[in-house]
Subunit: 440 residues, 2 copies
C-alpha cells in the first residue's frame, strides 16, 4: 500500500462519521431555514466550507451562511444575522472584517455568518460574500477521488507548517489547496509541480486577472482580481518547495504526522549556544487585547523591526523566533555578539575644510585620545553610543517601528544568561535547532 | 623679540661657525680639484646642497659633486668617482640610484657624488644630475634674509615631523622648503599660505609642467616635468596645514623644539588600552639587508596591506604605528576587537535554484545546525574561517601583498597581553596617544 493510501486511511473520516457530519449539517441548515421562515427573514441559508465541499478532515467546523438579498441595509443584515446566531446557537459574537456568531451544534463548532446573496463577484461588500461562490466552484469541479487528494494535500500542508492563511501561519488556505488539486489533478501532481516552482510563480485556472506581485500568485477563478495565495509568505512558499522535493525523493508519513518537537534540557541548550559561539537575547511585551490575527501581524512586524535595528548596530542577527502567550509576547534573537567594542574609529572631515575646526573643537580633550590625521582626514577614537544589544534596544525601541498596538513601555529584556534560565525551552529549541518539522 | 627671532638665534650657526664651515668646504673643493688635475680627470668639482646655498642649520653635511663631461661613459664616471671618494675620503661606498662615497672631512660628513655636467635638465641620466641646477637656482634667488627664513621653515618642518623626502618621513625636502620661501616670500608667508591649502594644491614658480596628481604639486623651476613635492604623503601635507593653522593662532617655540615624548609606563599603557576598550597586536619581521629607503617603503606597504586584511575580516583597525629596529621590523595595530564570534550566518542560494541541492549536500550534518530558510533563501550558521586576528594574519600573510623583500617566514605575532609586556613602550605610547609633536 502506498504511503498516501495509508495516510488517507488515517485522516479520512469513515463512512459513518461522514454521514453523521452531513446529517448534522443538514439538520442545522433546516433549523436555520425554518427559523428564517418563522421570523419572516428573507434570506437563503447555505452550508459552505469544507463540509459543503466534502474536503474535510476529522472534526470539521460547520460554516452556515445566511445570505440576504442585496436590497437589505447592511445594519439590518448584521442585526438580524447576530440575532439568529444568538437564537440558534447561543454562541459568542465575533467581529473580524464582518460580524458573525461562533457556537456549537451537536458537538460541532459552527460559524453562522450573515452576508449578501450576489449574482456575481463584481460588487462584493466583504470577503465573506465571496465564500458561497468558492463552495459552488469547488463542488462543480470535484469528484470523490479528488476530495481525497485535497485531504492529503491539506494534511501535508499542516504537517510541514504551511497550512492556513492567517498572519501566524502565512500559508495556504483550504481553498488554495482545493484549487491546486483542481489545477494539477492530484496530491502528487501538486508536489511535482511545486518542486519546480520559483519565486513569482503564477497559476491561472479560469483566466488571468491583473498582474500582481507575490512569491506565488494564484488567480481566484471566481474573482480574478484576487490572489488566493496572497497570504503566502516567501518562507512558507520556500518551505513547500523544499518539502515537496524531499517528499518526492523519499515519501514518508512524517510529512503528514511530524514528530512533536521535544524541548531540549537547559544544559543542552547552553551547550548548543556555546558551540555556536552565539549570544541570546529575549524581548518581552505585555500582550495587548486586540484580535489575534492583527496581533500576529504586529508581532512579525516587531520582530523584523528589531532584527533590522540589531543588524544596523552590528549585533548581527543569526536567527529569531517568537511566540504569543496568553499574557505576553516573546521574541528571542540569536546574535553573533551582544557586546561591541567600547570604541570605534569616528571619521571626520578632511583637514583642509572649514568644518574641521568645529570637529577639533568638539573632540578637544576626548577621553579616548586627540583626533589624528589619516589619509588627509581627521579621525578620532570615539565611544560607541551603545555597547550592548540590550542597551540599544531599550533606548531605540520607541523609534524602531514596532507594531502599533504593542506598548514599548511594557517591554522587558533578558540577556544571554537570563534567556537560558528563563525563556521557554521549547522556543529556544526551535531557535537553536532549525530543522524542518518533517526531519525531527 | 618675536618667537621667530628667538628661534633663529638658537638655530642659526654664528658667524664663526659659518666661516669655519665655508672654509672647510672650500678646502675640500680645492683638494678635490687638485686631485682631479693631478690624475688627469676632466671633471668640474662643485659644492652643492645647503652649504653651497647658505641655508644650512648646525652640523651640515657637505655635498661635493664631481661633474664629468657628457662624453665620458657611465661606467668610467662611476669608477673614477668612487676611486676619488676612496682616495680623498677613505669613505664608505654607497649605492642608491647612483654610486657615491660617504666620508668625513675636518669633522664634517661628506657625500662625494659623481655625475654629468649638463647644459640643461632635458636629458638627465640620474636625479643627481639635477642637483647642481637646484643649487644655482636657489643661489640666484636668495639673499641672506631669505636664507634665515628657509632656516626657520626647515626647523619648523623638522619640529612637526614633516621634513625630509625619504620614504620614512614622506615630507618636504630642503629644496622644497627653499622654493616655498622663494615663492611666498618668507617663513610666515609660507605658513599663511599653507593654512589655506587644500588637497591638489599646485605651485608653479617659473611655469607649469604637465598635469600631475598628488596632495601638492610644486613644479621644479629647473625641470617642470618634475614635482618637487612628489614624496609628500597626504598625511604629511595635512599635518603641515594643521600645524600652520595652530602656529598662526598661537606661535610657540614648541613647534621648532618639540618636547621629547616620554614613553608611558606599562601600567599606564594597559589602563589606556582598557579605557579605549581596544585590543593590541604586534607583528614582527626580521629586518632584511636592503637599502634603508627601500625597506622603509616596503614597511609602509606591509603595514597598509595588513591593515586592509584586518579590516576585511572585521577586526577593524583603529590606528597603527611601525618602527625599524636594527634587527627587526615592528608594526603595532590597535584593533576594535581581536576575537570574532565563532560563527556567522552564511547566506546560500534561493530555495528554488538548482544549486540549492549542492548547498544542502555541503551543509548536511553541519555542526552548528541544519540550513534554514530565510526570505526564500537557504542560510546556515557556519564557523568563521578565522576567529582571531593572530590566526588570520598567520594564515593570510603570504597572500597579503606585503613588501617584496620582507620575509613572511620570519614573522612572529604578539597578542594583546604580550604586546603590552614586550613591545617597545615608546611605540605603544605613540600608538595610544596620537597627539602631534607640538602639543606634547
Amino acid at each position: 500500500m502506498s504511503i498516501e493510501s495509508s495516510v488517507l486511511r488515517r485522516i479520512k473520516p469513515n463512512e459513518d462519521e461522514i454521514s453523521r457530519i452531513q446529517r448534522s449539517a443538514e439538520r442545522l441548515r433546516a433549523l436555520a431555514s425554518d427559523y428564517a421562515l418563522r421570523n419572516g427573514i428573507e434570506a437563503e441559508i447555505k452550508l459552505v466550507g469544507s463540509v459543503a465541499k466534502g474536503t474535510f478532515l476529522s472534526d470539521p467546523d460547520l460554516d452556515l451562511f445566511m445570505m440576504f438579498p442585496e436590497g437589505v441595509p447592511r445594519s439590518e443584515v448584521n442585526r438580524i444575522g447576530l440575532l439568529a446566531g444568538e437564537d440558534l446557537l447561543h454562541g459568542q459574537r465575533l467581529f473580524s472584517e464582518h460580524p458573525y456568531t461562533r457556537g456549537v451544534f451537536e458537538g460541532m463548532d459552527v460559524d453562522l455568518v450573515p452576508c449578501y446573496r450576489l449574482r456575481t463577484t463584481e460588487r462584493l461588500q466583504t470577503a465573506v460574500d465571496r465564500t458561497p461562490f468558492h463552495t459552488d466552484f469547488v463542488r462543480s469541479r470535484m469528484d470523490d477521488d479528488m476530495r481525497d487528494e485535497v485531504r492529503l494535500l491539506k494534511k501535508f500542508m499542516k504537517g510541514i507548517e504551511a497550512y492556513g492563511a492567517e498572519p501566524n501561519t502565512r500559508g495556504f488556505s483550504g481553498y488554495a489547496c482545493e484549487l491546486l488539486v483542481i489545477h494539477y489533478g492530484g496530491f502528487r501532481k501538486v508536489l511535482e509541480a511545486a518542486a519546480g516552482w520559483k519565486e513569482g510563480m503564477t497559476i491561472a485556472i479560469d483566466g488571468k486577472g491583473p498582474a500582481m506581485i507575490g512569491p506565488i500568485v494564484m488567480y481566484d477563478p471566481v474573482d480574478p482580481k484576487r490572489n488566493v495565495t496572497s497570504a503566502v509568505h516567501i518562507d512558507t512558499f520556500a518551505t513547500l518547495i523544499t518539502a515537496a522535493k524531499a517528499y518526492l525523493r523519499e515519501p514518508d508519513e512524517r510529512f503528514f504526522f511530524p514528530n512533536e518537537r521535544e524541548p531540549m534540557e537547559q544544559g543542552g541548550l547552553s551547550r548548543l549556544a556555546e558551540i555556536h559561539g552565539s549570544r541570546l537575547i529575549t524581548v518581552i511585551f505585555d500582550r495587548p487585547d486586540i484580535i489575534e490575527d492583527n496581533l500576529c501581524s504586529q508581532l512579525w512586524k516587531t520582530r523584523y523591526a528589531l532584527a533590522k535595528k540589531l543588524n544596523e548596530y552590528s549585533f548581527n542577527v543569526l536567527r529569531a523566533v517568537h511566540r504569543m502567550n496568553p499574557e505576553e509576547l516573546v521574541i528571542v534573537f540569536e546574535l553573533e555578539r551582544d557586546v561591541l567594542s567600547k570604541t570605534y574609529k569616528h571619521h571626520g572631515p578632511p583637514v583642509w575644510v572649514r568644518t574641521s575646526e568645529a570637529f577639533l573643537e568638539k573632540w578637544r580633550d576626548n577621553e579616548f585620545g586627540e583626533p589624528f590625521i589619516e589619509d588627509g582626514n581627521w579621525n578620532v577614537i570615539a565611544e560607541r553610543f551603545y555597547s550592548t544589544a540590550a542597551e540599544m534596544i531599550s533606548d531605540e525601541i520607541s523609534m524602531s517601528g514596532i507594531g502599533r498596538e504593542i506598548d514599548p513601555r511594557t517591554m522587558s529584556i533578558r540577556n544571554h544568561g537570563e534567556t537560558l534560565c528563563m525563556t521557554d525551552r521549547r522556543l529556544l529549541t526551535e531557535l537553536l535547532d532549525p530543522r524542518h518539522s518533517w526531519v525531527i
